[in-house]
């Protein structure tokens, strides 16, 4: 396995799955008592996390591209 640029989708879903798995295995959540006002923040948090990671990834890619172009030697005229 080779190191590559951060994949925001894998990271976001990975964090969501780990959180859900740990929460539901440790805490005995009674979904029947969870009202809608307690449900809706979860998808909002997930979408926010995903957007944040995508933005971070793009910013880093842009910075990498800029640093690469600066690092290229220019021919003396």
């Amino acid at each position: 396995m080779e190191r590559h640029r951060m994949d925001p989708w894998s990271l976001a879903f990975g964090i969501a799955f780990v959180a859900a798995g740990i929460a539901l295995s440790v805490i005995d959540v009674d979904f029947s008592h969870l009202r809608p006002q307690l449900w809706w923040p979860f998808p909002v948090v997930f979408v926010g996390l995903l957007l944040l990671l995508v933005a971070l990834n793009r910013t880093r890619a842009h910075d990498d591209a800029e640093s690469t172009s600066k690092a290229q030697p220019t021919r003396p005229t």
Partner: protein
């Protein structure tokens, strides 16, 4: 200088142009093929994705079966990569069979095409599958006849030496021998497949399998909720690793598929063990009674009418049920209590009925004079729970005998009374008769 730089770029572009081959020859691919390489060969030739041709073959095969026939024809008529000639051409080489076959195909095709003309009963707007087939036959005949020609070379023509006048690179651009513009197939860059998906899937199955095994052996009590949660956790950990090392995006849809099951298992405590189908239990003593009953799906009828209750004894029967019905039959002379809840369904306790969601069962018919008790602890997700009280046949017979005996005794007493009355009334009657005569 800038001019030198541009010239070098043009050199690269020229080299790329020269690497561009002519239309790839229509032939079956030898590598990276699924079956005979027909679809991939067609895709190479037309510069399209092989998946499109594969889908086309499958669709045609499903709707009418022509896809199979076309594929077989393609396999027979298209030469394999590097072979030069097709299987049919190779089989009929240096014989007149091929030309005869081609002529026959042409004749058939012409007959089909001319069908509307010579078949007066066919409507003028004749346009259906036979027309398509005729066109296909014509094309096949063409291909057969083309087999006479030597195969085209797939190699690119040798590059003409570029005439580079000293000076600018722009001049070089104008004098470079231009190859005809042809469709090029971008080189397929295959990303090296990451083993991370398989590693994560293997780890997930290993963890879940070991957990289920321990649960089934009775060493731990995990339940489906914990196992699914563990699977999702392992999968999520694999995705986090895959975000930086390797690639494991295929795990995302798998995790999304697992989540509804995990939520369901959280709502309903699903045991990993339990019976499926109908079961009838008829215990007669404590040894025949299990410590607990588990029903995954099905019916459980627990008949306690023949159970030998001791005086002052309390029997507790826990039942966990996912989907199904539970019927408890208790005898007379035993007080019964039901404690537990039903996620969705109905209950019937000695005639008192309830139904709905999240039913809390807290029923009792305890009486002071009944010292024998039975407690049913129910935890059911979906289904029904019913408690009936039955009298045994032998008890019924004994009761009937007792009733008959009572009735008989009452009759005997009545007869005795009548006799006594008659005996008392007999002397009085004699005295009255004497008085009447005097």
């Amino acid at each position: 200088m800038g001019g030198e730089g541009r010239g070098r770029g043009d050199d690269d572009a020229g080299a790329e142009d020269q690497q561009v081959a002519v239309y790839p020859r229509l032939e079956r691919r030898r590598t990276e093929r699924l079956l005979g390489g027909v679809a991939s060969g067609l895709a190479d030739h037309f510069g399209l994705d092989p998946v499109l041709f594969r889908i086309g073959f499958v669709v045609l095969a499903v709707f009418g079966g022509s896809g199979v026939l076309l594929y077989v024809l393609g396999w027979l008529l298209l030469p394999e990569e590097g072979a030069g000639e097709s299987a049919v051409v190779a089989a009929t080489r240096d014989t007149g069979v091929r030309k005869l076959a081609a002529l026959a195909l042409f004749a058939v095709a012409l007959l089909v095409l001319a069908g509307p003309v010579w078949m007066p009963f066919v409507q003028a707007g004749y346009l259906d599958a036979s027309l398509l087939w005729s066109v296909v036959l014509v094309a096949l005949g063409f291909m057969l006849l083309q087999g006479d020609r030597p195969p085209r070379s797939t190699a690119a023509p040798p590059p003409s030496p570029p005439v580079t006048p000293p000076g600018t690179g722009l001049a070089k651009r104008t004098t470079t021998a231009r190859l005809p513009l042809r469709r090029t197939k971008p080189p397929r860059v295959r990303r090296k497949r990451s083993p991370l998906v398989w590693i994560v899937l293997g780890a997930m199955l290993l963890v879940v399998g070991c957990g289920a095994l321990l649960d089934n052996l009775g060493l731990v009590d995990l339940g489906l909720r914990v196992l699914l949660a563990t699977a999702v956790t392992v999968l999520g950990a694999g995705l986090i690793v895959g975000a930086f090392w390797g690639r494991a995006r295929w795990l995302i849809p798998l995790g999304i598929l697992l989540m509804p099951g995990l939520i369901f298992a959280s709502v309903v405590e699903v045991p990993l063990r339990g019976s499926i189908g109908g079961h009838y239990e008829y215990p007669s003593n404590a040894a025949g009674l299990r410590s607990g009953y588990r029903v995954l799906a099905g019916d459980l009828q627990l008949d306690m009418t023949n159970f030998d209750f001791n005086e002052g004894e309390t029997i507790i029967v826990p039942v966990r049920m996912i989907v199904g019905s539970l019927i408890l039959s208790v005898p007379h002379g035993v007080s019964v209590e039901v404690d537990g809840h039903i996620g969705a369904g109905r209950s019937s306790f000695l005639g008192r009925r309830k139904q709905g969601f999240e039913l809390n069962l807290d029923e009792s018919d305890a009486k002071d004079d009944l010292t024998r008790r039975m407690i049913l602890q129910v935890d059911a997700a979906f289904g029904s729970v019913a408690v009936h009280r039955y009298r045994l046949v032998k008890d019924l017979r004994a009761a009937a005998r007792a009733k008959r005996r009572e009735k008989q005794q009452r009759q005997e007493e009545r007869q005795e009374n009548n006799k006594q009355k008659q005996s008392q009334s007999a002397p009085n009657r004699g005295q009255n008769d004497k008085r009447g005569a005097g």
